[in-house]
């Protein structure tokens, strides 16, 4: 007789009591479901470009998730950065891969088993650790109403006060500038080359 370390039925009833069913929660379940489906399709589909398309859909739905959390600018930044990024990925895929449409990946069975085991174990650990946390379901929002609106967001990002982020912002800008200059240095031709 296999004895589990916890009572399954008790856990299920606990989970049923914990899952809220307000409109926003239902919206969250729908969005989360679509994220999971598109994420799985990204991995399962054999063509690199098709998986790029599904990746974009998954990022888009993640942006909707941010919108549900009233983080408008983060959602837009998600679309801006990732759709643009994946577009460039698509360009490079087309440029660098030959025979793109053909049978690209030949996944062998043992690998699938290993992957399934790993992901199932991961899912088990996540559910076991996260579901018992009561605050996840019952926590109320403590931020003021338009805490993450574009105006307040920008003021906090570029302000000088104790709760603002001007120094990290500047450091990140300098870092990006450095990478830009490095990329140009690598890409440009030397004097002798033709």
């Amino acid at each position: 007789m296999l004895s589990l370390p916890f009572n399954v039925s008790q856990l299920l009833s606990q989970a049923g009591a914990m899952f809220p069913t307000g409109p926003m929660d239902i919206a969250f379940y729908a969005v989360a479901f679509i994220i999971i489906v598109t994420a799985i399709l990204t991995v399962v589909v054999r063509n690199v470009l098709q998986s790029a398309v599904f990746l974009i859909f998954s990022f888009l739905v993640t942006a909707i998730l941010y919108l549900l959390l009233h983080a408008e600018f983060v959602a837009l930044a998600q679309v801006m950065v990732y759709v643009g990024g994946v577009v460039i990925f698509v360009v490079f895929t087309i440029l660098l891969t030959s025979h793109l449409g053909e049978d690209a990946f030949n996944v062998r069975i043992p690998k699938i088993f290993a992957a399934c085991t790993l992901s199932l174990a991961f899912a088990f650990v996540m559910i076991r650790c996260i579901l018992p946390v009561k605050e996840l379901a019952t926590v109320t929002t403590t931020a003021p109403a338009d805490y993450s609106s574009l105006h307040n967001f920008a003021l906090r990002l570029l302000g000088y006060g104790a709760d603002s982020f001007i120094i990290p912002f500047e450091v990140v800008s300098v870092l990006l500038l450095m990478t830009l200059i490095c990329a140009i240095t690598v890409a440009r031709k030397g004097k002798g080359e033709k």
Binding site: P20, P23, Q50, V53, E72, L76, V87, I94
Partner: protein
């Protein structure tokens, strides 16, 4: 808390019409949902309003396209000393409708060896951005569908879908010309998107608003209060730069190296026919409308009449409703795009990229700096 917002007068009208409709639905809804609904009839009004908004966007998008196709043919013909379509209807007005009907009745098929999924997905992806941008544009004081605080960042964000759709369509056609066309267009649009976004950010900077309606309302007054004239010289330079970079964004001549009939037969949509091709075409023309609307909103005073400060003339101009002015300005911009298209010659690919990276982008950066200086000194 879910509070449906119905900001339009038509929304209030709908709300009065459906006071009791919710009573039929309420017994079947779970208690947890009912707690969140503040006033039942406003939810129904909200839903009906959403349907009205969708229909309105479709009318603006699909209604403008045949007019623009007819206009393009006529402008092209008259620039080249021809007459254009003349036989069907008065001055060939029904010609476009006949062409659209013919296109819709054609069979849709993918070429052999094409990736069917991406091939049929690409035209839909191309249509995402223009429809989303149309919802943000204030056609009049009350005629804006989504009055969101993050208007300009939203436009910059969704613009990427146009590039994506063109790339996917070109690749999945299984045709070397299409692939070349789409790669060229991808490189071009990614580059010019930067200066396009920077000009929009310049407008955001000088007006201090990201909401398109607020940007328009900041230009109320005489013609000198429009952003193109309000900041001496800088506004006009910004407008010209916007015009150049948006022409490249639209893939229109003289920057149409993506299609370049002489070199690539038709570019990324060579293999498309019937409805799928019509969708690419539709996206192109809605993009023309949205870009012209953006130019109108950001530089030409949006829906405000061009007042000149003389009382007698102004009172006459004020009698014309705002959306008439808006569409008049939009069609003036479209006419400018068309004249540019049939007047200038196409640059080579490398000249085009040089122009963006070595001229437009530095000028844009300088312009942003000067705009900041203007705000500090005079703002």
């Amino acid at each position: 808390m879910f509070t449906p917002s119905v900001t339009h007068p038509i929304g209030d009208f709908v709300r009065k019409l459906v006071p009791d409709a919710m009573g039929y639905v309420t017994p079947y809804l779970p208690q947890s949902v009912l707690e969140y609904i503040p006033a039942a009839n406003s939810v129904v009004a909200f839903l009906i309003n959403a349907v009205i908004c969708i229909i309105a966007v479709c009318i603006v998008a699909i209604g403008n396209a045949p007019i623009l196709i007819y206009m393009e043919r006529k402008v092209c013909a008259h620039v080249q000393c021809r007459l254009g379509p003349m036989r069907l209807g008065w001055h060939g007005t029904i010609q476009t409708i006949a062409d659209v009907l013919k296109m819709l009745f054609k069979e849709v098929y993918a070429p052999k060896g094409a990736d069917k999924f991406i091939f049929y997905l690409a035209p839909m992806v191309v249509l995402i951005a223009p429809f989303l941008v149309l919802t943000l544009i204030p056609f009049d004081k009350n005629m804006v569908i989504a009055n969101v605080p993050v208007g300009i960042p939203f436009i910059i964000a969704v613009n990427g879908f146009g590039i994506l759709g063109i790339l996917l369509g070109g690749w999945s056609s299984n045709n070397k010309y299409s692939l070349l066309g789409s790669l060229r267009s991808g490189a071009q649009m990614i580059s010019y998107e930067i200066s396009f976004a920077m000009i929009l950010l310049f407008v955001v900077m000088v007006s201090g608003e990201t909401n398109l309606l607020s940007i328009t309302q900041g230009q109320e007054g005489t013609i000198l209060d429009w952003w193109i004239f309000k900041i001496p010289v800088l506004g006009f330079i910004a407008f010209v730069l916007f015009f150049i970079s948006s022409t490249a964004e639209l893939n229109r001549a003289p920057f149409d190296i993506a299609e370049a009939e002489q070199e690539l037969t038709g570019g990324y949509h060579t293999e498309y026919n019937g409805t799928a091709f019509a969708m690419f075409y539709l996206a192109e023309y809605i993009n023309l409308v949205t870009t012209s609307s953006l130019a109108t909103t950001c530089f030409l005073g949006g829906f405000y009449p061009p007042l000149i400060g003389v009382e007698a003339v102004d009172s006459v101009l004020m009698m014309v409703p705002g959306f008439v002015w808006f569409f008049a300005k939009v069609y003036f911009m479209i006419w400018c795009y068309m004249m540019v298209r049939w007047t200038f010659v196409r640059p080579r690919v490398d000249q085009l990229m040089d122009f963006e990276w070595k001229f437009l982008l530095p000028v844009n950066l300088v312009l942003l700096g000067l705009g900041g200086a203007y705000i500090v000194l005079f703002g």
